[in-house]
């Protein structure tokens, strides 16, 4: 075997007499500019450049990235339709090619992009639906962990209970929106391509979380006070601190809130304070 080292490729890349880096740059640019002519050095066997042949590569780049985004943002695509989605994705991809070959991490800022995409303004909930889908994607691929039941909490003595902090499942993602986005998302999880969404497009605060206790990501709605409790516990507050910040009227429901959080499989350990 040869004695070349990793540094060889870097030296080659830096070699000013090398032709390939410049040609690859020209090709990479032309692939991203649909209107540009085929780079001179690229031809077919008889030497003539062929736009249609070069466009196979252009098409592969565009379609494969659209397919990747469509897999992550299925509900967004269903809400806006294939054509609108294609236009939106084309605009997004033009400025934001993936930065790694691991496409399950591609599209994390698509929700922010949607928020600034003028033609999508008539669907004010669309960006938050996209945030649910990105959270789902993260939750789906997060590390595995085994949830504990609420018995772990019941087993603590009153002192320890005051000081306890929760260790949450790596797949836990909190959802908070001015729109019923978890309900919209949930309605699209069935096979029905056009679910009936009575009243879902009306502004209504919705809070909840996604978690994947085993292999399936599950969505749980958590009304205001429960969400406040969960968010505080996620921020690392002790149970006493988080519960103490709840409105007095909500404290009677503390046990029910905790039952919901544990039953969903969101907690994997308890740490002494």
């Amino acid at each position: 075997m040869s004695k070349s080292t990793p540094a060889d490729s870097e030296r080659l890349s830096a070699n000013p007499t090398a032709r390939w880096p410049e040609l690859a740059r020209t090709i990479a640019c032309a692939l991203r500019q649909p209107g540009e002519p085929v780079p001179d050095a690229v031809g077919k066997t008889d030497g003539a450049p062929s736009l249609k042949r070069f466009n196979v590569y252009r098409n592969n780049v565009a379609v494969s990235l659209r397919t990747a985004l469509a897999a992550t943002y299925r509900v967004v695509k269903a809400l806006v339709g294939d054509d609108f989605f294609a236009v939106m994705v084309r605009t997004y991809v033009a400025d934001r090619l993936p930065s790694t070959p691991v496409l399950l991490g591609y599209g994390c800022d698509f929700p922010d992009f949607i928020e600034t995409f003028e033609p999508a303004r008539r669907l004010p909930y669309l960006a938050d639906v996209a945030r649910v889908e990105w959270s789902f994607n993260e939750s789906y691929n997060a590390a595995d962990a085994r949830p504990v039941t609420i018995d772990a909490l019941s087993a603590l003595d009153p002192d320890a209970l005051e000081r306890v902090r929760f260790v949450f499942h790596p797949s836990l993602r909190l959802i908070r929106s001015d729109w019923p986005v978890l309900s919209i998302w949930h309605a699209h999880q069935q096979d029905d391509p056009a679910p009936h969404l009575p009243g879902l497009a009306q502004a209504r605060v919705e809070r909840g979380f996604l978690v994947r206790p085993a292999l399936e990501v599950q969505a749980t709605l958590l009304p205001g006070d429960g969400f406040q409790l969960l968010a505080a516990l996620c921020d690392g507050e002790t149970l006493a601190e988080a519960a103490g910040a709840l409105p007095k009227t909500a404290r009677a429901d503390l046990s029910a809130m905790l039952t919901t959080i544990f039953a969903a499989g969101a907690v994997i350990d308890l740490a002494a304070g």
Partner: protein, 301 residues
Amino acid sequence: MATTSSRVYPSIPARAGVGFKPTHFDAIFSCPPDLGWFEVHPENYMGAGGAPHHQLSRIREKYPLSLHGIGLSIGGPTPLNTDHLDRFKALIDRYEPGLVSEHLAWSTHDTAFLNDLLPLPYTPETLALVSAHVDQTQSHLGQRILLENPATYVVFEESSYDEIDFLSEIVKRTGCGLLLDVNNVYVSCTNHKRDAQAYIDAFPICHVGEIHLAGHAEDQDDAGQRLLIDTHDRRVIDDVWALYGRAMSRAGAIPTLVEWDEHIPDWPVLLEEARRAETILQDVSQAGTRAMHAPVMEYMG
């Protein structure tokens, strides 16, 4: 290259395998087929946990596995992404694949990943670059890799090597093996008006550790010339089966994968394609053209 360790995992048998698709998981495990092996793209298993790893672990418990990378950009002028090599290595450590392969192609420019297998000119400059990248990959992974011949739609004026000579020289310089994609041979040879049978006959088959078969689409270019596109979205055509039979008659049985990545069919259809490859492999094994294909690990340098 002294740094390449002789890592030996259960090898891939000289039988037919298929690309694993999550949509087939339930069908596969409702009645586990007598199939030689499975292959996946490592890039799809670079998340931390969840269903993808659960499914791949189940597959790996029952079958030999091959990892076929699509993201290293070995032919590109950009230095290899060492984070990506680390992720790849972690998967090798976890799943102990019998074969690891990549493409003679590029996909990353600067930091932008273009998500396609792009063509490169075959020159002394790119030969040195690709060889250095293959060396680096094998060192980093602690594993010999197979390099796959590409399906191409364009050629480069400045290419001074024939593709087979280029691949042979990379093998000589790096000790890597080759993955012969018979559909890519058919697609490229048709697109560039070359003789596919002659390509198969000239290919350095003794270095081939794996075969790929797939379906392709047919179109025409601006000049009305045939333009085949490597789509992996349908059955393997008869001409490609014939080329495959020709290669196997010459070489003896080599692990053979049926790829189907778009418009994925029901499981029985894919299994039927694999069975067709298996029949050809059994025929050549019985004919004893070559008692046994040299196992990949013999090449460890």
